[in-house]
Amino acid sequence: MGQSGYVRPSPEPLRSTVLRFFVAFVLLSAGLAVAEEGVRREVVDAGVHIPVLTKAPELLEFVQADYPPEAKARDLAASVRLVVTIDEKGEVLDAQVPEPVGNGFDEAAVAAVKRFRFSPAEVDFKPSPVQIEYVYHFVLAAPEPDAGVEVAPDEAPDAGPQLDAKLTGKTLVRGSRGFVPEALVLCDERPDVVATSDAEGRFALDVAAGPCHVRVVAAGFFVFQTDETFAPRETREVNLYLIEKVEGMQTVVRGKRDKKEVVSVTISRDEAQKVPGTFGDPVRVIQNFPGVARAPFILGQLIVRGANPSQTLTFFDGVQIPILFHVGGGPSVVNAEFLDRLDFFPGGFGARYGRAVGGVVDVQSRRGASDTWHGSAKIDLLDTALFFQAPITENVSIAAAARRSYIDALLPLVLPKDPNGGSLLVLPVYWDYQVRLDVGAKPGAPRKDGASDFSLFVFGSDDKLQVVATGGARNRDVTVDFHTTFHRLVGGWTYRRGNVTTKLTPYVGYDLAKVNFGISNLTANQWTAGLREDLAFDISKHVTLRLGADIYDQALIGEAELPVISGTQFVEFPGSDPQVGIQRVTKTLNTFDGALFAEADFKFGPFTLTPGMRASYALIGGRVRYAADPRLWVRFQPWDHTAIKGSIGLYTQPPSAASLVDPPFGSPNLVHEKAFQSALGVSHRFTDFINLDVTGFFNRRYDNIINQNQAVVQPDGTVVTYRESNNGLGRAYGLEVLARHEVSKYFFGWIAYTLSRSEEYRAGRDTAYRVTQFDQTHILTVVASVRLPYGFELGARFRYVTGQPKSPLIHDADVYQADSNSFSGSFGPSRSARSKDFNQLDIRLDKYFVFERWTLDVYLDVQNVYWAKNVEATFYDYRFRQEFEVPGIPILPVLGVKASF
């Protein structure tokens, strides 16, 4: 009997036809926020409450599709992926095929799925519309005997040989150690010989003795085929490695949820690791988005909408990272493998963030794997990084990462030798670590009402730099030892009950900074204890309330032995470097800073109004500081995929503890820096992956802390010198455009453009605003990464940036100071000229080798591919007669290797 094609019905529709069940939530009515990838984001996040899937929809009525005749005639099979919209009653409203397969399969699948019936899904325990992914398989198989048709005895269908052998084993992901659940294992296309793998990939298939053509079908994987021959009553155990159609790419993070912030950028782990020229550093990736100026050379500083780098803070699971970059302009302390997601707010951020007048970067760490253990190891020019994650029990998982540099071993090989026999040693060393333990329901699993999740997160970083230059023809021996370290221990308890969600985050920390320079040394120890609480109430479908507290207490002890400092402790004479006595200085500073914040969402049709307030009280070295930051966000969503957003608000940032010690080393009268921020923007989502954001912003900064070395003569004749003052003012305004294709199977990328101006003014010195040193009128960045056949992935980044401001040199005479034996230059209006514009192309090529249990990624990251002669800075000859340019980096290739399992 010849084969005829038909759709094989499943005797158990839910189990056999739903091969991969991705649940994504879409907002069908204005007002509810959207979560991505199931229930991972049930915690209060970025000030927006994320609804939780508490009951998944179940397929109650399956409808068999008609096998397309044309495809049947050509013996074609296919799997059709559909995005299915189900209403709150379980009826199918819509079915779309995002990636058509053709040959009539799409239409047939849509027609059938539209007649499916599901049980209603529940979000926050209430029936709710949802959107799911559903894969419909069209499999060629022998037809069942037609019921009611009499068959002649000599035409009776062959019931098949007896099933007296067994094939058992696991279906696994090739190249990692993951399981493939819900995979169909078939033998010879017999409809009665089929097994489905369970959640851990295990299956058991009864087969007949003799040859068997084994076929494994799973959504998102290439079909696996092999031939086996069984002896009677034989049981054979195998591992079947399926090749993923999306090797290496992480799950799509759609970011469809509504956010009140006018601009917020979410970066996935793939984007964080794959953007060329960023060395896999997630913080450096932020530099490629609108509103962020290009930092000099390959430094990773974040210069956001004209603010100083110190005015943008980075948080790791809600706790501020005190030192963001490793020594020598190295990578950030945020290990990309440990990143779950990264949110960047260039301004207008929610009231749960504070103590920053620039932007905020919020890094969420990654939970341990829930299926089996996985890991990765990476080696490149600078360091080696290891990552590991595993479930310990059903509800406990762990993830850990560590990184260590080896520049200290390589640098001595390339440093020039002293021809006069002296020695030069430069040893920078850094390492960092993160460890996270989670107790609670697995990611993606429905949460029970009243359930708790716990976490314990430890992270830290250490940097050392030793420089020793002695002997030879040197007139002076140099020995410098520099060491900084920080550690944080962060707890987490998340609890939800009904309409209330709470997250409590206590933490403790230790920081050390130490410098030895000859006879001078400085040591600063700081201990911190803090607490964050985030509480969210869904009062009604129109009103959501968020409250919280953000409190810390800090003790700083600084000790130093250093020379009496000319200019700081006595009047300096030009060119004078006398021999002075050594003084011992001890400073202690205690800081308490407590903030309470509140926000409420009021939703009326397409409008959402969110007023917010953050109020803080600080006691720093016995001095009291208050701050009150009112903020307002407005969102108008005239259509499903378009939103107009605006925000205004006040933001404050306290001075650092070290700045507030007594003079002459500090300035205890410093007050909070302040900023007024405003933004208005429109965003439109064209497709699931493509969106466009256009935003205008205007910021003003007040009481900026600047270095001023103010000397104030007291009535008794003594002089008090203050290193810093609040005499700085700043303003920044501009337009930001971001067109983005989010991470999909084969591609991600974006075009970012910023048109802006940032200016500063110093009270008492300037007569008018002037541009800041980082003002860059035009910043264009284009990033793209595409997955190619044969395991290749190619990425590129192009940047074009307006040249840096500089003051034009005017020379008509040499201006010499005889006491200091130095010259000074004469300049035109401050920063009225610019260096030449910057342009650079960076490329990254990855090649994946997929083995059974692990994957090898070999990558080459080349910066400045066409060796553009950029200018990073300007310097002058000793008499200020001529300008010279400091060139940027030449072509810079970096080779790396990463193994994942």
Binding site: I298, F517, P563, V720, A818, D819, N821
Partner: protein
Amino acid sequence: MSARALVPAVVALALVACVGPDDNPTTVKDLRVLGIRFETPEVLINECNVGLLSALGSADGGTITIPPELLQKLAVAASRPIKMTSLIADPAGAGRPLKYRVVVCANPNDRRCTNEGDFVELLRGETMAGELSVTVAPGAVLLPDGTPLLQEVITQDLYKGLGGFRVPVLLDVQTLDGAEHVYAQKLMVYMCRFFPEMEENQTPVLPGMTIAGAPWPADEVKDFTGTQEITLEPEDFTALQEPYILPSFQLQPVYLVEAWKVAWYTTLGTMDNLSTGGSDFSGQVGRHRNTWKPDATATEPKDVTLTFVVRDGRGGESWAQRKIRWTP
């Protein structure tokens, strides 16, 4: 520079070395002022104490009134004639005439003494390369509006005399056609004797120079040829570096010891270091060894003048010279 920027800075410096200026500060080719010396470099005013200074008021930039007692002491100190000697180099000029002015003004930040109403020209004339000596009384000058210059100096001084009353004296020298022009400023210090142990500063003088470890008398001309490099070092002057006292901002004595710096110049070739000596933040006083390297591109024999200018970091300054006859 923060240590965190060390690697990019090292890279930048390495790149700079490839594209930097050709003009070496140790090589004197054109019109330069290499040093200015005052005899004496400092005038110590007796019985001028902190109490008098505190009466001058706080640093609000407003008009102050100098107490008559202090004014009288300042007038006496400022009237002392000071011999001002400037070392002018002009190898390319080969003895051409130069014109000069000596100007005093009120604010050390006014490097060209051009702030309106705040400067006075003391004298002008013509000279040529070499030592130019004039006698001036920088402090005893009245501004065009009749205000004593010293009063204006005090008004504009952030520290109101705690570091001494420092009067900027400017030597403005240029070629007759104005093609080369140098403004050279030196501070004349009138210092209150805050503490009885304070002594008036003396001019530092190098005791001698060695060449390849052997003494090099001042009147001896050395002969060198080709690419031969010469190691130079001043004779030890550690014992000549004076201890001195300054008032701290808290009006307490700060005990210091001079750490002389030597600036090195040559009319042909280069010196390895422009400046040696001084104390750094690590507490180390730099050594004074230096190396002279001939000009590899020179093809004609030359008489070379080496100049060593020593400064004590308090305004005291002097110089010494040696001659070399060099042949390729």
